[in-house]
């Protein structure tokens, strides 16, 4: 278990499950999850983009649902299970969506991708064969300024096919 030092005179303690492992966090329960992940746990893959729930760069899974981490206070998340991009592959290498992003070369600067992978993976948990429209809707909270949207859509489809155990060249 990782323990981080108290940050204030506050003696509150919050326990989160992060990428499968329990983490004990002392101090200020109002600090945002994103700050805890990046600053305290060294999980820097989750990105700060706006801090206002408007860009999706900071998306993480909380109990399987994509949630903005920039504004969530850890105190409200006690006992919940959090998955970041670092944990997406579940310790078994890359998640199929990560591999598909590489296969589709779905990235330019790549800053937006951590968040998109979270929402894309959550979609694929429910639906391995999403339509273009379903993918666009699932990713609509994510902004990308480089314009890799269509490539990410293709990658989500490709990953879904791979997860279905079907080799489907037609999605390329």
């Amino acid at each position: 278990m990782t323990t981080t030092p108290a940050t204030a005179d506050d003696t509150t303690e919050t326990i989160l499950i992060v990428n499968g492992a329990p983490v004990r966090l002392a101090g200020d329960p109002t600090r945002p999850l994103l700050a805890v992940l990046r600053e305290e746990l060294g999980l820097v893959g989750t990105r700060f983009g706006c801090g206002q729930e408007q860009c999706g760069a900071c998306m993480v899974l909380i109990d399987g649902e994509p949630v903005y981490s920039c504004s969530r206070e850890i105190g409200a998340l006690a006992g919940r299970s959090i998955v970041t991009v670092e944990g997406l592959g579940g310790g078994r290498g890359l998640h199929p969506l990560q591999q598909a992003l590489l296969d589709e070369q779905a990235g330019q600067c790549g800053y937006c991708l951590s968040g998109m992978m979270i929402s894309g993976a959550a979609l694929l948990e429910r639906n391995r064969r999403p339509s273009r429209r379903e993918i666009l809707d699932a990713l609509d909270r994510h902004l990308c300024r480089c314009g890799v949207h269509n490539r990410v859509v293709r990658a989500v489809r490709r990953a879904g096919a791979a997860m279905d155990g079907l080799v489907d060249e037609g999605t390329a």
């Binding site: 670092e86 330019q108 600067c109 790549g110 609509d140 314009g147 859509v153």
Partner: protein, 706 residues
């Protein structure tokens, strides 16, 4: 074969060792002055080096934008990196390969021509000679000037160039690594700046107690002049403090901006200097039909998804700065000048979110550097807030563009005038002899502002005039350029500079002329275009979209086409767009045809062109800054929406160039043609033309009601 005249980058950085080194474990160092800003440049340069050295791309480690070593190639901008750095690396690698072959031949007592290199090993008659680059490296001194004497490969010999090498930086990024934002140091101190809302604003008061309360943890408030910074051990506390400080800071004096700043009227009311450039022969008579129109592009912003970040450390009189600047050398020079640290500054480039023009990277670097000098021995990390990314960033310059043509009896323009009014398109560090750092102006004793600022000269591609010269066959062309200066805001480079709005205007106007001539818009363009490469992309885009389509004019659906050759010397591109318009514009589909000459990484070029189309579409449909209370009022993504997933059209790209032609920059090629294609498609769908960007819901509604 590509001629071996020495490219400028090799003249400026002549030593082979500036570019290439052989490292342990079969690695090759390739250094470049150009930097990765999301465009994939490092991948293209790895391919070029691998090709000419005959080594596997995976052996190559790039060193990029580090002033402590490696070539100075100035700014990474203007779609010139492959042409500049690529040309230098190509020749330097070819020469290194030839040196090793000659040396190996000597050692073996065989003619050099009998040896080949395969993945770095010297081979002869299909057999390994026992020598390779690494075993011979100690015997060959690369600290010698390049001569350009070794032949580079001809495109027909290419095995790596022209193939789709996957992006070298992507694997780390999809695992959540690789950004400057992720750098840590044991002695990190986090900082935020309280930026001034407008030029020369004085910080009348700051409720420090409220700021400290908001932080929740101890923070330090550093004030000098009108500069204020918040520093602390924990980032979240400093961030909280920064958001409150923005609200609590009281500013007075200076030059608050009026609410109507983002309007043609305001721009035209500012002082300006005018020059006129005539090309061709004026017609003897000007009595033909006159067609004229005025177009508008507002102040817009680059809106990178990641806010700017920098780290700096000052120790023993030496300053080290980590930055995602586009120009590490200019940054070093201006930092040294502003901080009195001549010869003591090192700038190391590190990657950040995509860069689409002059952003706040250099400002963040100055902030971190300055604070580092105030906290020696600590590593200071500065991050911009999202709000400051909108408020304190350089503005993409607004443009008012008038076009006027006098038609001859053949309905072709006998006389053509473009009248461009715009503030300057460059205010980077070092431009106009000025440091260019926002915070330096807030500190005591700022160096004076330049008395005048001239725009980028036409010979360098122009700023406001970039692509102001229409490429069509025009017997007489008059360019009127009004440099709107001085203005009380910092305008600077946004992807494509003037090319975006000029191509939008020119290509909209071409459609208007075709209409006046009763001609098909594509046929009319082709009748005025003798450059075969331009014709080829226009014809390809028309074919891809099924031009002219079957939608009747003015009934809510339409195709449009736009063409441009970026800077009139980089890639050619034609874009076609299909739109549906009811109360707003919906992009149905976009097609792009580009001639980029030799393409190093075809998939990378397509990625850039697709991305350019999406960004340009977003500018064209949605984006404009608003001003209120003296400052930028659009300070978040809700206020300044950009094109989202749910609004994405499908996009198809075709590369139509020939690999025997030299590589032409692709990064900015799509911007203008896309805006024009959308504008023309919307005009067809609506049956009436909107000449002011963005083609927002409000403007569509107003046009429908008119």
């Amino acid at each position: 074969m590509i001629p071996n005249t020495l490219p400028q980058s090799l003249i400026d950085n002549p030593l082979l060792s500036d570019w290439i080194g052989f490292e342990p474990e079969g690695r090759v160092r390739v250094s470049t002055g150009k930097v990765e800003i999301g465009q994939g440049i490092l991948t293209a340069l790895v391919q070029i080096a691998a090709e000419e050295l005959d080594v596997a791309p995976s052996r190559i480690r790039t060193v990029s934008g580090e002033t402590s070593g490696g070539p100075n190639e100035g700014v990474t901008a203007g779609s010139t990196s492959v042409a500049m750095s690529g040309a230098a690396i190509r020749l330097a690698c070819a020469e290194v390969r030839a040196l090793f072959l000659a040396h190996g031949a000597d050692r073996l007592g065989v003619p050099a021509e009998s040896l080949v290199v395969e993945d770095g090993r010297l081979r002869r008659d299909g057999r390994d000679t026992g020598h390779d680059y690494w075993s011979l490296a100690a015997e060959i001194d690369l600290t010698r000037p390049a001569t350009g004497g070794a032949p580079a490969k001809s495109p027909t010999q290419y095995r790596v160039v022209g193939t789709d090498l996957p992006r070298v930086d992507l694997p780390a990024k999809i695992e959540g690594r690789g950004f400057i934002h992720d750098m840590v140091a044991p002695d990190l101190v986090h900082a935020r700046i309280v930026h001034r809302p407008w030029r020369d604003a004085r910080l009348a008061s700051l409720d420090e107690a409220a700021v400290r309360r908001a932080a929740g943890l101890p923070i330090e408030i550093l004030r000098e002049g009108d500069f204020a910074a918040l520093l602390g051990e924990r980032e979240f506390a400093v961030q909280r403090a920064a958001l409150i400080a923005r609200e609590k800071a009281v500013w007075e004096g200076g030059t608050p901006l009026p609410d109507d700043t983002n309007s043609p009227d305001w721009v035209l009311a500012q002082p300006s200097r005018t020059r006129v450039v005539d090309t061709g022969t004026p017609p003897e008579r000007e009595d033909g039909e006159v067609v004229s129109a005025t177009y508008w592009r507002p102040f817009q912003t680059y809106g990178s998804i990641g806010p700017s970040c920098a780290l700096a450390r000052f120790e023993d009189g030496q300053l080290t700065v980590w930055s995602h600047t586009q120009n590490p050398y200019a940054l070093r020079e201006q930092l040294a000048r502003c901080l009195g640290l001549d010869g003591a500054v090192t700038v190391l480039h590190r990657q950040a979110a995509g860069c689409y023009g002059h952003n706040t990277a250099d400002d963040a670097a100055f902030d971190a550097a300055f604070l580092a000098t105030r906290r020696p021995g600590r590593t200071v990390r500065v991050l911009f807030t999202r709000e400051d990314e909108f408020m304190a960033a350089p503005f993409g310059a607004a443009m008012v563009i008038g076009l006027r043509a006098v038609l001859g009896p053949d309905r072709r323009p006998a006389s053509w005038t473009i009248d461009i009014a715009s503030p300057v398109h460059s205010n980077r560090p070092g431009s106009h002899g000025h440091h260019g750092f926002r915070s330096r102006e807030a500190l005591p004793d700022p160096p004076p502002q330049p008395v005048i600022r001239n725009d980028n000269p036409d010979a360098a591609g122009g700023g406001a005039t970039r692509n102001g010269y229409a490429l069509y066959d025009l017997p007489f062309h008059r360019l009127i350029h009004r440099t709107v200066d001085p203005v009380p805001l910092r305008t600077s480079s946004l992807r494509g500079l003037g090319a975006y709005a000029n191509i939008f205007a020119i290509e909209s106007f071409m459609d208007e002329l075709a209409e006046a001539a009763g001609a098909d818009a594509v046929a009319y363009r082709l009748s005025l275009m003798s450059d075969p490469r331009a014709r080829a992309v226009i014809e390809a885009a028309a074919e891809m979209c099924g031009w002219p389509g079957d939608a009747p004019r003015g009934e809510g659906r339409g195709l449009g086409l736009g063409f441009g050759r970026y800077k009139n010397r980089a890639a050619y591109m034609a874009v076609a767009a299909e739109v549906e318009v009811d109360e707003a514009v919906r992009l149905v589909r976009i097609w792009g045809a580009a001639d980029c000459g030799l393409v190093i990484t075809p998939d990378g070029a397509k990625n850039q062109l697709e991305g350019g189309i999406i960004q340009a579409a977003s500018w064209a449909l949605k984006e404009e800054l608003r001003f209120a209370d003296g400052k930028v009022a659009t300070t978040n993504w809700d206020d300044y929406p950009i094109l989202r997933f749910s609004e994405m059209p499908e996009i198809e790209i075709r590369l139509v160039g020939e690999s025997r032609d030299p590589p032409l920059g692709v990064g900015e090629a799509a911007m203008g043609p896309t805006a024009a294609a959308i504008g023309n498609a919307v005009a067809r769908a609506l049956g009436t033309r909107i000449r002011a960007l963005p083609l927002s819901r409000e403007r569509i509604m107003a046009a429908l009601l008119a």
